[in-house]
């Protein structure tokens, strides 16, 4: 049975309360009649025989690439790079697709007599992955074979001897990537393309790069000119990554790109009610949902956090393609859109969203206030094609408890960003100009990024820049249920209930505004016409 398409529901009096994600919990909100709720497409039917599909993709590459087997020779240097802990969300149930692909690539390499193989977690300025996380991504067999010999490791964008400067694009953007990658005869990059911005030239140009190169597109101006950064044709971020990627290609760095797309079967039992439409839940599911909510509201946040962080998604593989970067990415993007795009007519005055417990940067960690802002205003807001869901000057209402909590190991520079930078200003341009360099070059953050498990010193800035398009576009941001001191620090307003939030929004958008709620996750991307 083909998967059902997503839909835009118009709320009427018979519509049950809508489920909002709310950090490590949920809210039920009765939306005003006439509001619209956008539901994602149901999960696309997955490929059944994954191993064959992988084998097939490696043997029948796209673009002008020979099959992988033909690219492997004895004595060559092979580097396998793979996406880090930020993908997919949540982490997928074992075995992880990365591991399954890497096993086959390694088999081919072994058959071809390739000895010099390095596996690198392409984490750019993200935190290093722990042993357990690496094991999950590549599988125990691969880990035990390579890690003890120093051939499986996290990329280090601050290793003074580990980077190679390949030049500048015709727009003056520096291109700097892993020296090992440059010196390799072949890079095989294993992607999980969860959303449409993932993959393509971004894989190597960003994933194996550092501050010097990233600052050319991870900045306020680029983000404001990417409308949205999820839409390749209108993304300045995409354009710049592509320029850098082409320079890498032209410099003779050979990349065999493997991209995979997943369906949005995000929540395993018993959480699968989270991807049901409210009116289709049966009595048992309703009871369970209600009980779970009560339970989660009662237990300490730390306990709820560890329950949620334990969720492993039963994602199904919907496509895998390999070969030349651009040809591969074109097919990938079509597959991502097949799962995510939902057609929506016209913009709205108020856009509401329920923010879940997880974003790309708090896997096995804490969603701090800056990450809350980034998830809502960076990711969810930008999940559009055409024009933003909310009209210019409209209001975004997000639901999240937004506790003023930080992970001291993973997000040390976020703590200081919150205490020092946001206390001074929330204006992305001012922040960029006044503080970015200092944080980016801070010796202590560098030390923690390299030897501990910290996001790079500059990372919280990027999170704030990610919000800059939304911050420029909307008239007000309200966080329902948000802890006031944290919300206020970020320049937003907090409301206790959705009703209060709607009342507050009328100050900006007037009486009788239109309201649209995106029922995400599972992920959807609005095609606004």
């Amino acid at each position: 049975m083909p998967a059902r398409q997503g839909l835009v529901l118009e709320v009427d009096r018979s519509t049950p309360p809508i489920l909002f994600h709310h950090g490590e919990g949920f809210r039920f909100e009765k939306l005003p009649s006439g509001s619209r709720v956008i539901y994602p497409n149901e999960p696309v039917e997955p490929i059944e025989d994954v191993d064959s599909a992988i084998r097939d993709a490696l043997a029948n590459p796209l673009g002008d690439s020979p099959p992988l087997e033909a690219l492997l020779q004895p004595g060559m240097k092979l580097t396998i790079a793979f996406d880090d802990i930020s993908l997919p969300l949540p982490q997928m149930q074992a075995p992880d697709i990365r591991g399954r692909i890497i096993e086959q690539v390694l088999d081919l390499a072994a058959n071809a007599g390739v000895d010099d193989v390095h596996l690198i977690a392409a984490l750019a300025l993200h935190r290093r992955m722990t042993e357990a996380e690496l094991r999950h991504a590549v599988g125990d067999r691969v880990y035990d074979a390579f890690a003890p010999h120093g051939q499986l490791y996290n990329f280090d964008a601050e290793d003074p001897d580990g980077l190679s400067h390949l030049g500048e694009t015709d727009h003056g953007e520096e291109v700097v990537i892993s020296k090992r990658a440059v010196e390799s005869d072949l890079i095989v990059y294993v992607n999980i393309n969860l959303v449409s911005m993932d993959g393509g030239h971004k894989s190597v140009a960003t994933g194996l790069s550092g501050y010097t190169a990233l600052r050319h597109h991870h900045n306020v101006e680029t983000m404001r000119r990417s409308r949205s950064f999820m839409d390749q044709e209108n993304s300045e971020l995409h354009t710049k990554n592509w320029r850098q990627g082409r320079l890498i290609r032209d410099a003779g760095v050979k990349i065999f790109q493997i991209e995979t797309t997943l369906n949005n079967n995000t929540f395993p039992e018993p959480w699968d009610f989270l991807q049901k439409r409210e009116w289709e839940m049966n009595a048992k599911e309703r009871m369970f949902l209600f009980g779970t909510k009560k339970f989660l509201d009662k237990i300490p946040r730390k306990a709820a956090r560890s329950i949620f962080q334990g969720i492993r998604a039963p994602f199904g593989l919907t496509s895998i393609q390999a070969g030349e970067v651009e040809a591969v990415h074109e097919v990938t993007t079509a597959n991502v859109y097949r799962q995510h795009l939902v057609r929506v007519e016209g913009q709205t005055d108020i856009l509401s969203m329920g923010l879940p417990y997880l974003g790309p940067y708090n896997v096995n960690s804490i969603m701090n206030p800056i990450l809350v802002a980034c998830l809502g205003l960076g990711y969810f807001f930008n999940l559009y094609k055409g024009k933003p869901l909310v009209r210019e000057g409209g209001v975004v209402i997000m639901s999240h408890p937004t506790p003023q909590e930080f992970h001291p190991v993973h997000h040390p520079s976020y703590i200081d960003f919150f205490e020092e930078v946001l206390a001074d200003s929330t204006d992305p341009e001012k922040i960029e100009h006044k503080y970015e360099k200092r944080y980016a070059e801070d010796e202590w953050y560098r030390h923690l990024y390299r030897t501990s498990y910290a996001y790079h010193g500059v990372h919280p800035f990027y999170m704030w820049y990610w919000c800059s398009h939304a911050l420029e576009h909307v008239g007000e941001v309200i966080i329902v249920g948000g802890e006031e001191r944290a919300v206020k620090r970020m320049g937003f307003r907090s409301a206790t209930t959705m009703r209060d939030a709607l009342e507050m929004a009328t100050d900006v958008v007037g009486r009788d505004p239109s309201l649209t709620h995106i029922h995400n996750p599972p992920v959807l991307m609005a095609d606004v016409v």
């Binding site: 804490i366 909590e405 001291p408 190991v409 010796e443 030390h447």
Partner: protein, 777 residues
């Protein structure tokens, strides 16, 4: 005419730096143009007599009007008319040089107003100054065979705690006087001092002081504990002397040692004065000026004010005294004027006594004083630091003893609580401990005031002023307008609301406006001073200053990292069972504790420890870190300061923190063939050693300790904190809160990040693949 009769005269004054003395000097300079002043002033360790006159007398705001009146000639006129002699009324011969002696005895009038007016002075110092002071003057004059007019300032309260009329008579002739041999009192006072001193040196007492020092400072190191012990001993002797004074005075019917010594002083003076003509002026409670030099002028914090302010702040709601009792207050300018009038009139053959008091002719009842004050404070409420007005309730009156008992009970309860708190591992995180210390200090103060002034509230003597009034009647109109001392003119309501209380609130520095302070707070000012580029270095303690962890935790973490579950369980049990013993040892002596504890590392492989320590940064240290602390370290570096970590933790364990610091001073364990021996290479940096090592490092690098900043959490770090110009108490334990507050140090409360994981036990996570374990013992 007063000014005429004193024209060309030389007037010597003792006690001119006091409240009354300053008023006298100013009044004489202003109203008696043609006389000379000789001021006998005691030099202090810091300031010569001349300098004290400049700083403490002439720069007092009493001289404001004179300064503006005389303009540029002020300094010159003062120079011409004032001579300063350096002396001390508690020294034989007044401690004068020959030259000063000649100058002093050449005076026509000597006004002796030097006294220790504190009601709780030690017995012997009251005796030396108040009793023997006038004697020494008389002795000196007799030796030199000169007979100037000696005016001794005494107090009405020499009459003691008795009811009824107390007239201007010699004590000897009144029923008030118990027959006491003042010479025996002098001997006894001196003997008491040496007896108590001897008693303070017996082993049991010394042990007690040692224990007290440790309780106050913790394991602060030998030199500091020794100094504290000696300080406690001296303080104890002094306290005993105060108590001896109080009990001796009350046993003879005086409210306190001040009045007792003053009374005996009068008796001795009468006995010894010989040919020297004397007058005695007895004021009652001297308070702020009625008119001169300015209405409300006051010097220092006096008598009833502390109680009134405590009431206005809502700290006290019971007043020691009876509502219908009379509080005999007299404005300072009336006392000064009366003394000048007595000087101008000249002596009689027999000693004359003048009382300057209000109680007999214009009595002020407690009830009136307090009700008027309450009315005034309702209109001018006192605001707390948050800008909220504090509510004052209805006064209650208590005989002072009842109140004292009540306060005693509260203070005792506080002390018990303080002992408990000092022993608890709580810190200044919620500012609870600092509030506690503040309240305790306040209570002490109030209790002190009640003890001291309570007796005056209950005193029911009425001081007759017939002779003073007769003197008043004899004055010309012009003298009367210049030298008013008729207490009958005082309108008490006006005095309290328009003159006295407005000055009191200024003197007490209480806020009577609701505005939140503008400009930076004290902490903000201190913080910016600490981060000023002019500082040279910043030294940081580690445990509880930058991270909420300790050597035991890091040892436990490192030791368990490579153990299997069964071994880990056994380790946890063993460590838990040892904890109380370790804790006691640590409290007793940190150095000893570290030496003992670090033996556990014996046999540990160095390389493996180093690798594990790198992981410990993420799994223990950062999780327990205070982000604001780490931010501060870097702020110092950004300001161009050198940063140094000084810790008793093991060097290997703190190595991952190196990028924060220019230098690390940590404990080091020797190693042989790649294995630790468990023996320390040097004395571990704790207590005074810590301070020494810091200073040495600073000096080697050309950095000045007085431009240094030091951060620490415990009283045992006092040597290090005291060694720098800018000490900062971080999350201070209760003992340090008190010390930091007293000394005005910056206090920082740095929390852990909320949301940080809280492992139940500090145990290393077992790596899945790594070479097989070579456990630490």
């Amino acid at each position: 005419m007063i000014s005429e009769s004193l024209a060309g005269k030389r007037i010597a004054v003792t006690g001119s730096t006091g409240f009354l003395g300053t008023a006298l000097v100013e009044r004489i300079l202003r109203e008696v143009p043609d006389c000379e002043l000789v001021l006998l002033v005691r030099p202090t360790r810091r300031n010569s007599a001349e300098r004290r006159v400049q700083r403490e007398i002439l720069r007092n705001d009493a001289f404001d009007s004179l300064r503006s009146q005389w303009g540029e000639s002020f300094e010159e006129t003062c120079d011409q008319r004032i001579s300063v002699v350096s002396g001390d009324v508690s020294a034989d011969g007044l401690g004068l040089s020959d030259l000063d002696r000649r100058l002093f005895i050449s005076a026509d009038v000597i006004i002796h107003s030097a006294a220790t007016v504190s009601f709780d002075s030690p017995l012997d110092s009251s005796i030396e100054i108040n009793l023997l002071g006038p004697n020494r003057i008389v002795q000196l004059l007799n030796e030199e065979a000169v007979t100037p007019h000696l005016i001794a300032v005494s107090t009405c309260y020499v009459a003691g705690n008795r009811r009824g009329a107390a007239n201007e008579e010699l004590l000897a002739g009144t029923p008030f006087q118990v027959k006491v041999d003042w010479r025996a009192e002098v001997d006894a006072a001196r003997r008491t001092r040496s007896d108590l001193d001897a008693r303070s040196r017996v082993p049991e007492e010394l042990k007690r002081f040692g224990k007290g020092a440790r309780e106050e400072l913790g394991a602060a190191g030998l030199p500091m504990l020794a100094a504290k012990t000696e300080q406690l001993r001296e303080a104890w002797v002094n306290d005993q002397m105060v108590e001896a004074g109080r009990s001796r005075a009350t046993s003879l019917g005086w409210p306190d040692v001040y009045t007792y010594s003053k009374a005996l002083g009068e008796t001795a003076l009468i006995e010894l004065h010989g040919e020297i003509p004397i007058s005695i002026v007895r004021p009652s409670i001297i308070e702020s000026a009625w008119e001169q030099p300015a209405p409300g002028w006051i010097r220092g914090f006096r008598m009833a004010e502390p109680l009134i302010v405590s009431f206005a702040k809502g700290e006290l709601n019971t007043f020691p005294g009876y509502p219908e009792g009379i509080i005999d207050v007299i404005p300072v300018d009336m006392v000064a004027a009366a003394i000048i009038a007595v000087a101008a009139k000249g002596p009689e053959t027999e000693p004359e006594i003048f009382q300057v008091a209000s109680g007999s002719t214009n009595p002020l009842q407690f009830k009136v004083l307090l009700d008027t004050a309450m009315e005034w404070f309702q209109e001018h409420p006192v605001y707390d630091s948050n800008g909220h007005p504090t509510a004052s309730t209805e006064w209650k009156y208590a005989g002072s003893s009842g109140l004292e008992e009540q306060l005693d009970r509260v203070v005792k309860a506080f002390d018990v609580a303080a002992k408990v708190i000092n022993r608890l591992p709580i810190r200044g995180e919620s500012s609870f401990t600092s509030k506690f210390a503040e309240r305790r200090q306040n209570l002490d103060q109030i209790k002190g005031y009640v003890n001291i002034y309570g007796a005056y509230g209950k005193c029911e003597a009425i001081y007759g002023i017939d002779r003073t009034l007769a003197l008043w009647e004899s004055l010309t109109d012009q003298d009367r307008s210049q030298f008013g001392f008729d207490p009958r003119v005082i309108d008490w309501h006006h005095y309290i609301t328009e003159v006295h209380l407005p000055t009191v609130v200024i003197q007490a520095r209480v806020k009577t406006t609701p505005e939140k302070r503008s400009g930076p707070s004290r902490s903000e000012r201190l913080r910016s001073a600490v981060l000023d580029p002019g500082r040279h270095f910043a030294a940081f303690d580690l445990e509880n200053t930058l991270i909420a962890s300790n050597v035991v935790e890091s040892y436990a973490w490192l030791a368990t990292r490579r153990l299997n579950p069964k071994q880990r369980f056994e380790f946890a049990l063993r460590t838990l069972s040892e904890t109380p013993g370790l804790w006691r040892r640590d409290k007793r002596d940190r150095t000893d504790f570290l030496r003992y504890f670090y033996q556990r590392y014996k046999g540990a492989p160095l390389g493996q420890l180093q690798a594990d320590a790198a992981e410990m940064l993420s799994e223990l240290i950062l999780i327990k870190s205070f982000p604001a602390g780490l931010r501060r370290v870097r702020a110092h570096r950004a300001a161009g300061h050198q940063t140094v970590l000084i810790t008793g933790a093991l060097d290997i364990a703190v190595e991952p923190l190196r990028p924060l610091f220019d230098h690390i001073i940590a404990a080091q364990i020797d190693n042989k063939n790649g294995k630790l021996t468990g023996e320390m290479i040097d004395v571990p940096p704790t207590g005074e050693v810590r301070a020494q090592l810091m200073i040495e490092w600073a000096e080697q690098n050309g950095l000045l300790p007085e431009q240094g900043v030091a951060y620490a959490d415990s009283a045992s770090d006092l040597p290090m904190l005291e060694a720098v110009g800018y000490p900062v108490a971080v999350n201070p334990e209760t003992r340090l809160v008190t010390i930091a507050e007293k000394r005005g140090w910056l206090t920082e409360n740095w929390p852990k990040t909320s949301g940080a994981p809280k492992p139940l036990l500090p145990m290393g996570q077992r790596p899945k693949v790594k070479p097989p374990h070579q456990g630490v013992r």
